[in-house]
């Protein structure tokens, strides 16, 4: 535990020094050559007016004639940044810059961090709506719950480009991918699997909804929040109806056996635990894992420290354990999902990212790992396995096509080739820029 703290402190200091040197992590580099000033006559005025006139006639041509097809905004109000809480839009900026790089490196997506000072959800909603003409999509990030549910729901209906809330959908998508394979290994059927979701924040509410869309029986899910197990007769149901209708909905749909109580009661006879609650260690009594069925599946997703240590879960009888961390096996990481989901959505010029598309991403990611050979310590690819990304992107794009959301219609193979080319080029150009010293490498000197 002390080691963990020391390690975190050390990384904090490194990141501060790093940021002092680089003064920000992204910068705009032209895609077009500039040989001399005459080129500006087509890059800019007067020539560019011709392009504007075409787009004015048909605004959808902005996806063909500008970078809009590959550009998204990372938007946040800074109300729930990492595990740090409401630290404000300025403090959220370094995080969003980092996110932009993951988008570029893993998905070839140009992502612009936009941290927004928004007094209320309507204000935020209006800002995002006004920004739509510049972007091919929006990634919402680190927005507090339940505001994030409202915004996702509202903006999905109002925008003609995809909007995504990574803390909800990214985590849910990665969780489902890992779960598909964990169920395969332990020979379980989706319909009969009993899942306990510990924590009822953005990610677990989204996970519960995604699991239901993916065919899990809602009645077989049990959700737990800080007040205990959710069920339709809980005393605070009316309060939830007003303050968090999304949680309220799930309280009504889930827990068909009307189990009441806390974590222990919920885990009795359950197959899967998905914990996305408070950082550990000892967030709950590890002994409770013993109450679960044989070959239990335990996901401990709190960061930076899982609810209980993975080896503790194993000692108590869990067969498959996953965490949010890269230094343990089976990292459930939204970075496995969001770069390729956006790659696919952008390649298809999709109007939406629906639950069906996320499920498709999870399935493809799971399939990739399965083809490599599953075992208890390998239920989901790692971020290093970049070949998974274009495959997931193609699966997502093709699903968008099937659902009628795609403006750009291609075969699955063509979507794959397109995604692969863009991601490869993105990684290649970064490599060249580093080799040429244009991106300077100070990291070794920190």
């Amino acid at each position: 535990m002390e080691d963990e703290k020391d390690q975190t402190q050390k990384l904090y200091e490194l990141a501060i020094n790093y940021s002092k040197i680089y003064k920000g992590k992204i910068s705009i580099i032209p895609k077009v050559p500039i040989r001399d000033f005459n080129d500006f006559a087509i890059i800019y005025t007067p020539g560019i007016a011709g392009v504007s006139l075409r787009i004015a006639k048909n605004p959808d041509e902005s996806f063909e004639l500008t970078g809009r097809w590959n550009t998204i905004a990372i938007v946040t109000d800074g109300t729930r940044v990492l595990g740090l809480g409401n630290i404000g839009p300025e403090a959220a900026l370094p995080v969003m810059e980092g996110k932009a790089i993951i988008f570029k490196y893993l998905g070839g997506v140009d992502a612009i961090p936009l941290t927004i000072k928004a007094s209320d959800p309507q204000n935020f909603e209006n800002v995002v709506k006004s920004l739509e003409p510049s972007f091919g999509g929006f990634n919402m990030e680190d927005i507090e719950s339940p505001k994030c549910f409202y915004l996702l729901e509202k903006l999905s209906n109002e925008l003609n480009v995809p909007i995504w809330h990574d803390d909800q959908q990214g985590t849910a998508g990665a969780t489902l991918a890992g779960l598909y394979n964990a169920l395969k290994i332990t020979d379980r059927k989706i319909k009969e699997t009993r899942v306990v979701l510990l924590g009822s924040g953005a990610s677990n509410i989204a996970t519960a909804k995604l699991l239901i869309s993916a065919g899990f029986d809602a009645g077989n899910l049990i959700m737990i929040d800080s007040k205990g197990i959710l069920h339709p007769e809980r005393e605070d149901m009316d309060k939830l109806m007003l303050s968090n209708p999304w949680k309220y909905e799930l309280a009504i749909k889930t827990n068909k056996d009307r189990i009441k109580g806390g974590i222990k009661e919920a885990l009795i006879g359950s197959d899967v635990l998905i914990a996305a609650s408070k950082p550990g260690p000892n967030t709950f009594n590890k002994e409770y894992i013993k109450e679960m069925n044989k070959d239990a599946i335990v996901f401990l997703l709190a960061n930076p420290i899982p609810e209980i240590w993975p080896w503790e879960a194993k000692e108590m009888g869990a067969k498959i354990v996953a965490t949010g961390r890269s230094d343990f096996p089976n990292q459930i990481n939204n970075s496995l999902i969001f770069p390729s989901v956006f790659r696919g959505a952008l390649d298809a010029k999709s109007k939406k990212i629906s639950n069906e598309m996320i499920i498709e991403a999870s399935k493809e990611l799971a399939k990739y790992a399965e083809e490599k050979g599953l075992n208890e310590n390998y239920i989901i690819p790692t971020m290093n396995e970049w070949e998974a990304y274009p495959r997931v992107a193609a699966a997502v794009a093709y699903k968008a096509l099937e659902l009628g959301f795609a403006r750009e219609k291609m075969s699955k193979q063509e979507y794959y080739e397109k995604a692969k080319k863009i991601i490869e080029e993105s990684r290649h150009s970064l490599k060249v820029l580093i080799e040429k010293g244009i991106i300077r490498n100070y990291i070794n000197y920190l």
Partner: protein, 158 residues
């Protein structure tokens, strides 16, 4: 009407269940205004209130039952309107349905059932009381043809 759910007039044996639902209703009301803060002795008060209502000739309580369990309640009384026509008012003061039984038309049915009863007892108009900020209730009643006739405004006295 949904299978397995029936409405009937409440009796002495239902008191405990009715009290529980009315307390839930008052706690819901509490969410809408600081002047609707629920008293610590709510349970005792509600029990007396329900008992009085059951023994009064002017009022009645209808319960909705599913699998022998009370899942909804409506309390109404006949009041004389001293100054206005029509003179007989059916006044609904308590109306609550458990969360999982909502949004399937049960409230509408229960209201209809109760209005019939009020009519039998001579009521010519029906009124209902709920917190001003309860938009769900005001939308519901508006849909059933109610309109706001008299408002109660309040403030704390310093």
């Amino acid at each position: 009407m949904e299978k397995g759910i029936k409405f009937r007039e409440a009796n002495e044996e239902d008191i405990e269940a009715i009290v529980e639902l009315i307390i839930r209703l008052k706690r819901l009301n509490e969410e809408f205004d600081a002047l609707l803060k629920v008293r610590d002795d709510i349970k005792e008060q509600t029990t007396i209130y329900v008992k009085n209502s059951l023994s009064s000739n002017n009022s009645f309580i209808i319960v909705a039952e599913h699998n022998k369990k009370i899942i909804g309640v409506l309390k109404a009384e006949i009041r004389e309107r001293l100054f206005y026509y029509p003179t007989k008012e059916g006044y609904i003061s308590e109306f609550y349905i458990m969360p999982e039984y909502r949004r399937r038309g049960l409230g509408k049915e229960l209201l209809k059932f109760s209005i019939e009863k009020l009519k039998e007892k001579g009521a010519e108009i029906v009124t209902a009381e709920f917190p001003t900020q309860n938009k769900i209730a005001s939308d519901f009643y508006a849909k059933q043809g109610f309109r706001s006739v008299i408002n109660i405004h309040a403030r704390q006295i310093e």
